[in-house]
């Protein structure tokens, strides 16, 4: 039941749809979306005089219901399949007295139409203004999100800074990966949920429903939120905030009836998360450092969830997702069972990326059937063994070449190799070695295929720029300056790559802003706001990102982007994210940093070897494996 005082703007919004690109982004009405029932006027007996002491039960209930909108700060096509949104939507619909809807940022064309027509940004399901909701939950998937947060708050008619919001404005809650280093974004949020959201979000909703029922003020509602573990309330929190970790991930229900978008989204498939966390310990990787410990779901749970999810949704692909899917201790059994069931159907099983060894390729082979049509993706990350040891990518050249040989021998004709440029200690030799490794890999691939297929061998090399991330051993390292990165790109382009290898690289400009925010402090909120005022939007879109705007904004505020991104941090320096506890310990980060830079010594994966003393496993939170890992 939705509040009658907040009418749907659907009729007015529909008039704009004929004028925008891809209107299906904005209609909602997907399978398994919530269907908020408007409280119809006929329900109210208007023939009798109103009596203050008697309130219609329906009205009473609508007034007490907590209205929540979950928001992804990019367009529908990007956000609708985001797993944080999928999971938290399912969480919210199970909390009694809560009505949950979704919202996305409209593309530039509709945003302009909304402003021209003086219409506020609305939720997808009931198309009511977001500013009429009690709570807006915004997930932050990456560091380039600041301008989109400003845009969606502004389109909603909500004050950008939490401190400027009035009693009647919604509470704005942040979460997602970026919330682990919340300082640059804290000003936008009344509260942030740090860590895994399943349990914390349910507690937030229960608390807000209760404090709304009691009619408490904004400050009092926030005070109640601050008592929840994992909640950071910038205006109240003193001291540390402990990240939430879902200890019982293995038996936590899997979402098997997610909203099924009409629009083809970037993850246009059913996603079943089979493992949470990764203990391989790549020293640049925030996801690997933060989402510990490793917790596996059982093979039976995974197969049942995939089967049920496919039957319910009618989707034709299921992805077994995780940070390192083929590390699941029962992955071979899971893939065999699923591929047996869906063999000779139009349903595909997909793995997000391949482990760099023959086993990884064998697993990809189980689900691809006889036709190896797509491309396999591998991530050696660096060209030399020395640098791979520095980053703790425990992969040898023999592993890389062995995996590629196996892939092309098994029938694949296209592969993609991911590398990073600007890793700590990188030299020109390391850069050139990317091309050398790629050439060796390409030669290996040609050797592995029958003569008549040699012309079909394709390989692409994708080079990203290293961004130092908070909570990783490399947080202490500065980013290589942009001009120097551009020189290294040229060096790589000049190194002779075999014909047939396609080289792509990320623009270091966006990575510069990413690095500024990833290790930033609270002064950066002003930078995000100023860049938004100057017109920056959709900064994660390479065709929308404009470094000149950011430089202008930084200049006005007296900030030097390159200095912020490239400054090394002292090992004992106080850091803006020090107050976030519960992840890997500072001692571990320092130890890993020192191992990397002084001796290029590697640290083994604790799910296969000895404990690396990262400090995450404590009390109720422990590594959970479904079996022994091979």
């Amino acid at each position: 039941m939705i509040n009658p005082e907040s009418p749907s703007l659907r009729p007015r919004l529909e008039q704009l749809l004929a004028r925008v690109e891809k209107p299906s982004r904005y209609i909602g009405a997907e399978l398994f979306a919530e269907k908020p029932e408007p409280l119809r006027v006929e329900h109210l007996d208007t023939t009798r005089p109103a009596r203050d002491d008697v309130c219609s039960p329906a009205l009473q209930q609508a007034a007490e219901n907590l209205d929540v909108a979950l928001i992804y700060p990019d367009i529908y096509d990007i956000g609708a399949s985001n797993q944080a949104l999928v999971i938290l939507y399912a969480v919210a619909r199970h909390v009694p007295g809560v009505g949950v809807e979704r919202a996305f940022l409209p593309w530039l064309d509709l945003a302009a139409e909304l402003r021209a027509d003086d219409l506020p940004l609305c939720s997808l399901e009931s198309q009511r203004p977001l500013r009429d909701f009690d709570l807006l939950g915004i997930t932050m998937p990456h560091e380039l999100v600041a301008t989109n947060i400003c845009e969606l708050l502004d389109l909603s008619g909500i004050a950008l800074a939490a401190g400027d919001r009035g009693e009647d404005e919604p509470l704005v809650l942040g979460g997602g990966p970026v919330a682990n280093s919340p300082a640059p974004f804290a000003a936008f949020f009344d509260a942030l949920c740090i860590g895994e959201g399943e349990e914390a979000f349910a507690e937030v909703l229960a608390s807000l429903r209760e404090t709304k029922r009691q009619g408490l003020s904004r400050a009092e509602r926030l005070k109640a939120l601050a008592d929840i573990e994992g909640l950071y309330v910038p205006s109240l929190t003193q001291g540390t905030v402990r990240r939430r970790v879902l200890a019982d991930f293995a038996s936590y229900p899997v979402v098997t009836a997610p909203v099924v978008p009409f629009v083809e989204t970037i993850q246009d498939r059913l996603s079943i998360e089979i493992v949470r966390g990764c203990a391989r310990g790549c020293r640049f990787c925030a996801a690997g450092m933060l989402n510990r410990p490793v917790r596996e779901r059982s093979a039976n749970t995974i197969v049942a969830a995939a089967t049920q999810g496919l039957a319910r949704t009618g989707l034709n692909e299921v992805a077994l997702s995780s940070l390192s899917t083929t590390d699941h201790s029962h992955i071979a059994q899971i893939l065999r069972r699923l591929s047996g069931r869906y063999d000779a159907t139009d349903i595909q099983i997909s793995l997000p990326s391949q482990r760099l060894d023959a086993f990884g390729v064998a697993m990809a082979g189980v689900v691809s059937g006889t036709q190896k049509k797509g491309s396999l993706t591998f991530a050696p990350e660096a060209g030399t063994q020395r640098l791979r040891d520095v980053i703790n990518k425990n992969v040898s050249e023999a592993d890389v070449l062995g995996a590629l040989h196996a892939a092309y021998e098994a029938g694949w004709r296209r592969t993609k190799l991911y590398f990073m440029l600007g890793l700590p200690t990188e030299t020109d030799e390391d850069v050139v070695a990317i091309a050398e490794l790629a050439n060796l890999a390409y030669a290996t691939a040609k050797d592995a295929v029958p003569d008549e297929d040699r012309g079909k061998v394709r390989m692409s090399i994708s080079v990203a720029v290293f961004v130092p991330k908070a909570h990783t051993p490399f947080q202490f390292c500065g980013q290589v300056p942009r001009e120097e990165l551009l020189r290294r790109v040229q060096l790589l382009k000049a190194a002779r790559l075999s014909k047939g290898i396609d080289l792509r690289w990320h623009d270091p400009s966006a990575s510069l802003v990413e690095a500024v925010f990833s290790r930033g402090d609270s002064s950066l909120a002003a930078l995000g706001i100023r860049a938004w005022e100057l017109g920056a939007r959709f900064d994660a879109w390479s065709d929308q990102f404009d470094l000149a705007i950011w430089e202008e904004a930084a200049g006005e505020l007296g900030l030097d982007l390159q200095e912020l991104a490239s400054r090394p941090l002292a090992l004992d320096e106080a850091l803006p994210w020090d107050f976030i506890a519960g992840g890997v310990s500072r001692q571990y980060l320092v130890r890993e940093y020192e191992r990397a830079l002084s001796s290029a010594e590697t640290t083994p994966d604790c799910t296969r070897g000895p404990c690396g003393s990262c400090g995450v496993c404590a009390g109720s939170v422990q590594t959970v494996l479904a079996g022994a890992r091979g």
């Binding site: 749809l17 909602g28 009405a29 009409f262 629009v263 949704t313 159907t345 036709q371």
Partner: protein, 241 residues
């Protein structure tokens, strides 16, 4: 097609009129998968569901009767198939009928070559029709006489539909002339609504004409008509001379 061709009738209504043809196809494929019907898949390289659809509906256009022909690997009673589909259908893409197509039936797109459309315009007066500045000259008058005496924009559009011989539209930057007598086979007022017209448009092997493009072309430059809805109300077969 596969062994058995199940011809399913379905509608496209409510908010989903904004789906593209490809999005409708994907949504219907998902409905079929959910239904558990033994649909046929193509062999080899990239197995996919065997099906065909009637001609694409423009984005923003609803329909009371589209068809999808689905290949089934084994025979299912049509009524049983219909029940299975209806149990899992999307509420705005309801499955209306299911029957087997004759073995030698021509393809859906070839067969259903004539479509009826119902077009509803906003009231000629009143703010809905005047939201754009382009219509200011017609709508700025407050005199009730001028509106009752002059033909309404809908009437004028109908007159043009009856009298215009041809129209020119730009296709990929190049002008293309349509002989309307070949494509427009009917245009009349909808008796139930003074602001609605019923159009019948024939699609020919050499080309087809989209209703919203026809209406826009004939409204230019002076008719200020605001489209409220466009719905395909019928599909039929017409023998071409």
């Amino acid at each position: 097609m596969a062994d058995f061709s199940l011809r399913m009738g379905f509608a496209k209504q409510g908010p989903v009129i904004w789906l593209s043809h490809l999005e409708v196809v994907r949504a219907m494929e998902r409905c079929v998968r959910r239904s558990g019907l033994p649909y046929a898949v193509s062999q080899g390289f990239n197995p996919h569901m065997k099906h065909s659809f009637t001609a694409a509906l423009p984005v923003g256009t609803g329909s009371n009767g589209e068809y999808m022909e689905l290949g089934l690997a084994s025979l299912v009673e049509p009524q049983q198939a219909l029940c299975a589909l209806q149990a899992v259908q999307h509420e705005h893409l309801p499955v209306l009928s299911a029957e087997y197509a004759p073995r030698d039936a021509p393809s859906l797109q070839l067969y259903y070559n004539e479509a009826g459309y119902r077009v509803v315009f906003a009231e000629a007066s009143g703010e809905a029709g005047c939201s754009s500045s382009a219509c200011a000259p017609e709508c700025s008058t407050d005199s009730p006489e001028s509106q009752t005496q002059a033909a309404s924009p809908v009437e004028e559009l109908l007159r043009r539909l009856h009298t215009r011989q041809s129209m020119e539209i730009l296709k990929k930057g190049k002008p293309r002339i349509y002989d309307l007598s070949l494509y427009l086979t009917g245009a009349e007022r909808d008796a139930s609504d003074p602001n609605a017209l019923l159009l019948t448009i024939l699609s020919r092997p050499e080309g087809s004409l989209r209703p919203e493009i026809l209406l826009a072309a004939l409204s230019r430059p002076d008719l200020s008509l605001k489209l409220v809805s466009l719905t395909r109300v019928s599909l039929q077969h017409k023998e071409l001379a």
